[in-house]
């Protein structure tokens, strides 16, 4: 089996059980369902709310640098802390947090393979206690925008075919049959996908137990769709969180050098006046 491009970036539930109390390790749960943490979480884990703490709450943007520095400081994280992220939905928003921590230059960030689902299924301890941490000082780097695609770059890539576009939403969203995942609010005016995009749903990165597939299987899956490391890749979904998981897979498990997450995603493209849309 091929090794991960970034060895150690995935940790097992066993590893977490053994290292959760290490002073240099900070566990953080980030869920789609922001009530999950309160129901019970890995003992000692902090909880971050993606909708209020991992974004700019005024304009649509990632978390501002100063806000992230404060959040990390409050969570007892300094620049040398090993941050281990996990969450529900096979780590959707854990990957979103991972992507942002990498944008701001945090060195040692890892993901608990299988996330909350695997921890629960294994019957491991949960706690409803909300731990407090000694505040630390955190200094973030200026944002590395090379990990992120903005609209003009996506438009140019579509026109020039200068990057492989990967739409990680479900097939019904890709074709435009539905405008949002079933049961969730519609947030766009038009359905379909960016012309030329390949549909490789995020869930295909994972096994049934929530863990990531082997690097060999992942590499083969992307190669079968013509997505290889020798060409830039832009991944997108609806709001950028599912595509952050695919970004994580390509960048940190498979070692693609030039892969970006287009966090504007379909809620931006599908609302643009005059933007080209491909269906089905």
């Amino acid at each position: 089996m091929s090794p991960q491009a970034a060895p150690g970036v995935l940790v097992t539930t066993d590893w977490v059980a053994q290292h959760a109390a290490d002073p240099d390790v900070r566990l953080v749960e980030v869920d789609v369902d922001t009530t999950s943490y309160d129901q019970g979480h890995v003992p000692g884990a902090a909880g971050w709310n993606w909708s209020s703490q991992l974004c700019d709450t005024l304009v649509r943007d990632i978390v501002p640098k100063a806000t992230l520095e404060q959040l990390l400081g409050r969570t007892g994280v300094d620049n040398k802390t090993t941050v281990v992220l996990y969450g529900d939905n096979n780590n959707w928003f854990a990957a979103w947090a991972f992507w942002q921590l990498k944008i701001y230059g945090h060195g040692d960030v890892r993901i608990m393979d299988g996330g909350r689902k695997k921890w629960l299924a294994e019957g491991r301890d949960l706690s409803t206690d909300k731990p407090s941490f000694p505040a630390k000082s955190y200094k973030a780097s200026d944002p590395d925008q090379s990990l992120r695609a903005f609209l003009p770059e996506v438009q140019a890539a579509m026109k020039n075919k200068s990057a492989s576009m990967v739409d990680v939403r479900g097939p019904q969203e890709f074709t435009g049959e539905i405008l949002a995942p079933p049961g969730l609010p519609e947030t766009c005016q038009r359905g379909g996908h960016i012309p030329g995009a390949k549909n490789i749903p995020w869930g295909k990165n994972c096994n049934d137990d929530g863990t990531f597939k082997s690097t060999d299987d992942l590499r083969a899956m992307y190669a079968a769709q013509g997505i290889t490391a020798d060409k830039p890749v832009i991944a997108y979904c609806r709001i950028g969180e599912r595509s952050s998981l695919t970004w994580f897979v390509m960048k940190h498990l498979l070692g693609f050098k030039d892969v970006k997450n287009y966090d504007g995603s379909w809620t931006e493209w599908g609302n643009l006046v005059g933007a080209p849309v491909e269906k089905p």
Partner: protein, 79 residues
Amino acid sequence: MRAVIEMKPEEYSRRQQELDGWAITIETYRLGDTYHCTIASVDPGARFARADSATREDAEARALEKAARYLAQTRKFEV
């Protein structure tokens, strides 16, 4: 020092079924005296309804009722 209560999730179950034409996953477990149930779409796997109750049956019934209500608002377009 605060007393920290830790519990193990018990009676964990996860199954798939169809609800109003949509494939869903039902995940339920008991933590202490409370059953927690969450409903997710199979594709793309997004959680969209949940409920807690003193019994598994009630937690799942309430979560399914919410899920059906939310799914009824999902429009399908011809492609």
